[in-house]
């Protein structure tokens, strides 16, 4: 009994956009979210302004959530996870388990979209000596987002306003030792965005960014990087920090200023580690449950085809957002919409019995 209903796993930006897309095409969407709220990382991690565009993350996400929850064609299942799947493209039988109480539910859908996203790299795993768990004033991008959102960007150790802050780029990315050889794509932009926000909220605090390469593709260059430098006077220093030591009540940042070819030993009040992206626990688990191939980093593998970015190794199952690898919001939402279109069109072709067409449109 083929149908064009689509199961979407994950209620973050990519999943929300996929649900909107499916409903917009007139098909039924079942949006499953393990947590008890929608919104994904921007809400759960309490982001301040979005990269790019600088709109308030909570405000924007709430607008999208309101649209999804008021849409009759979308069945939102909060607190559910996907326990099992059977069948094939056009006719999947999926068991949804309610977290905690053992209740389960079986649904029948024509296609599945995985939108289980990423998690921030845990700097406890980094191979330099940044001492994230050792020093209160060494924080991550998401710690910094929370302070920016609360408009209380201070030194965590003593609650004082900082005078000197630096970001260290590529923490947990581009690193063979750690195993994450890829660039996480967004950290240069987010660090620069946060540097601007810090300068806005704490004007007498100087902000430095230690980097290997600044990767500010497209409009991030003129919308974030250049204003950070030209208007907000953020200081970019090429050369990455090797280690952080305690010096009095400050942090001694040691590295090389590569364009000067000289060692650096400067003190900072707060160090922000620009930690990258890794596959979320949900992404890894769904890959296992759904039988999807993962790449060597644990992200869901997209068969190598630049022109088909939402395909997976299993026909009828699509991937969107950062479950497939490091992605910014634009790409996450974009692939959410693309996956919706692919999923509904495949399910409908199969429902019509047009298998040849269905195969061609995988």
């Amino acid at each position: 009994m083929a149908n064009d209903a689509v199961l979407i796993i994950g209620g973050g930006p990519a999943g929300l956009e996929a649900a909107r897309g499916v409903a917009g095409l007139g098909a039924r969407a079942i949006l499953v979210e393990r947590r008890n709220n929608l919104g994904g990382a921007p809400i759960n991690e309490r982001y301040a302004a979005l990269t790019h565009g600088f709109r308030d993350a909570e405000e924007v996400m709430n607008e999208i959530i309101a649209e999804v929850t008021s849409e009759a064609l979308i069945d939102v299942r909060l607190g559910y996870s996907v326990a099992a799947v059977a069948g094939s493209a056009g006719d999947f039988t999926v068991t949804l388990a309610k977290e905690g109480n053992g209740h389960s539910d079986v649904v029948n859908v024509g296609a599945i979209i995985v939108a289980t996203g990423f998690q921030h790299f845990d700097p406890g795993r980094e191979t330099q000596m940044y001492g994230y768990y050792e020093f209160d004033d060494v924080i991550t991008l998401q710690d910094s987002e929370r302070m920016l959102k609360d408009r209380n960007w201070v030194r965590p150790s003593n609650g004082e306003s900082p005078k000197r802050v630096c970001f260290i780029q590529c923490v947990g990315s581009r690193d063979r030792h750690i195993g994450n050889e890829y660039c996480s794509k967004v950290c240069c932009g987010i660090a620069s965005k946060q540097a601007i926000e810090i300068r806005q909220q704490v004007p007498d605090c100087r902000v430095f960014i230690f980097y290997i390469d600044m990767r500010m593709y497209g409009y991030w260059e003129n919308e974030i990087y250049w204003p950070a430098q030209e208007k907000y006077k953020v200081q970019y220093v090429k050369g990455i920090v090797t280690e952080i030591l305690k010096k009095g009540d400050k942090l001694l940042v040691r590295g090389e200023d590569t364009t000067m070819g000289r060692p650096v030993e400067v003190t900072m009040d707060v160090v922000v580690l620009s930690n990258g992206m890794e596959p979320s626990a949900g992404t890894k688990e769904m890959a296992r449950v759904l039988g999807l191939k993962q790449n060597k980093y644990g992200f869901i593998e997209v068969p190598h085809d630049a022109l088909n970015p939402t395909a997976t190794s299993v026909p009828g199952i699509f991937v969107s957002g950062a479950a497939a690898g490091p992605r910014d919001l634009d790409d996450s939402v974009g692939t959410g919409g693309a996956a919706a279109m692919k999923a509904v069109s495949l399910a409908r072709k199969l429902a019509r019995g047009d298998l040849q067409l269905a195969n061609a449109s995988r």
Partner: protein
């Protein structure tokens, strides 16, 4: 070192500081002459430069390094716009740093800079601040400022002698104050053609060429003063404004159709800088300005038949920074050279938009001794070597700063007899002398 067959550990005495012949030495200097570790990014001086009017773009630099390979000063030393930005970021006070006086404002960095970091505005602004703050100003530059302020020319010559060159021109050179009627061309001679021996050769050649073409021209004579553009770029804004004010008012007394200038620096001043100054000060400034190569190139139909004597020589042409990069004129001088019979032009590697700098711009003309202390060789010497490398026997120029600079360079690089230096106007004058 073993002593009596037993290995002895070396005795190392390291003191924090010691006084040698009355000079106190820090212990760390025993190992290296500057502290190696960067222990602070003191942004005081970077902020200060960025706060200056004209200094804003210093912070635009993202250290791509494009400027360094094209910087003529880096070719002969260790310098480069992006390096200056880094020094500022490291807490160096540019108003006290030798780098401040090495920039020739040649504009090759700005030409290639993706962020438009404008050293042509930054350097003069910081130099002005250094002067206002009473910081070190190279004495030779200070002396030049004084000469110009007192005598109206950098050489410190008598203003009364400004038109003396004309006596030996062999043709009448009318003075505006005496002709008492409108003329077609006001020839603005400039200080080097007025006073420097080799400059005077070119000035006389100019008078003869204009006369041969039947041009109705006159000069200002002793009313003429240094235009002040290089003074401005060297940081003496007050003196520049005095000179601009004086020149604008002098010219306002007379009627003429156009101003023809000898020097690219005057050309830049009159075309790009004076209009703004005049507008801000309620003065009139609306003149057609032509560099002499442009004026003559417009008259090639008339000029070419007069060039009867072949000059059989291989020449190369040095683009003046302030005619080429600053004002986009690359063709007029080349068209004149092409019109001279016998002349073969070979282009140097660094030519046109990427032309090398003679070292004279932005006050460099008056900083040779100082700059020499920070460079392996002079920029003019490097340029002479390049001309020789490209097989030229004659280095042709059209900026009055250059003849003397390059002739000195020919001697100091041992190229006497291999390369001669001529202003294009001298070559035209010579080609007119049918034997």
């Amino acid at each position: 070192m073993p002593v009596k067959g037993v290995k002895q550990a070396p005795i190392v005495v390291e003191k924090d500081s010691v006084t040698v012949r009355g000079i106190e030495l820090k212990g760390q200097w025993n190992r290296m002459f500057e502290p190696r570790v960067i222990d602070d990014y003191d942004l005081t001086h970077l902020d200060r430069v960025a706060a200056l009017s004209g200094g804003e773009s210093i912070e635009f630099c993202y250290q791509c390094g494009k400027c360094v390979p094209v910087c003529p000063v880096d070719v002969v030393g260790n310098y480069g716009p992006r390096k200056i930005v880094r020094k500022l970021q490291l807490g160096v006070d540019l108003t006290e740093d030798a780098d401040l006086w090495l920039c020739t404002t040649c504009m090759n960095c700005l030409r290639v800079c993706p962020k438009e970091v404008d050293m042509i505005k930054i350097m003069p602004a910081v130099r002005e601040q250094a002067i206002l703050d009473g910081k070190f100003v190279p004495p030779e530059l200070q002396k030049t400022f004084e000469n110009i302020a007192r005598y109206g020319n950098p050489q410190g010559e008598s203003p009364r002698k400004r038109a003396d060159w004309a006596k030996e021109a062999g043709v009448p050179v009318p003075i505006m104050a005496s002709v008492k009627r409108p003329v077609d061309v006001l020839l603005y001679v400039g200080s080097y053609p007025s006073y420097h021996p080799r400059g005077k050769d070119a000035a006389r050649a100019m008078a003869r060429v204009l006369t041969a073409l039947g041009v109705d021209f006159a000069i200002l004579g002793h009313e003429e003063k240094e235009d002040g553009d290089s003074v401005r770029l060297a940081g003496e804004k007050g003196l520049y404004e005095t000179l601009a004010d004086s020149t604008i008012k002098t010219l306002a007394k007379y009627r003429f159709n156009r101003i023809v200038v000898f020097g690219p620096h005057e050309y830049n001043a009159f075309k790009n800088v004076y209009p703004k100054f005049a507008a801000e000060n309620g003065l009139a400034w609306d003149y057609a300005i032509l560099h002499y190569t442009q004026f003559l190139a417009e008259r090639l139909d008339q000029l070419t038949p007069l060039l009867k004597k072949p000059i059989e020589i291989t020449t190369t042409f040095h683009d003046p920074c302030y005619l080429g990069r600053h004002n986009g004129e690359y063709d007029a001088p080349r068209r004149l050279l092409a019109a001279i019979p016998g002349v073969t032009l070979v282009e140097m590697g660094r030519s046109r938009e990427n032309g090398y700098c003679c070292g004279g711009g932005g006050g460099g003309m008056w900083l040779d001794s100082f700059a020499g202390g920070h460079q392996k060789m002079r920029l003019s010497e490097r340029r002479v070597q390049e001309a020789v490398e490209y097989g030229a026997s004659l280095l042709s120029v059209c900026c009055p700063y250059e003849v003397s600079r390059f002739e000195d360079g020919v001697k100091s690089t041992g190229n006497d007899g291999k390369l001669i230096v001529r202003d294009i106007i001298e070559m035209i004058d010579e080609a007119m002398r049918a034997e």
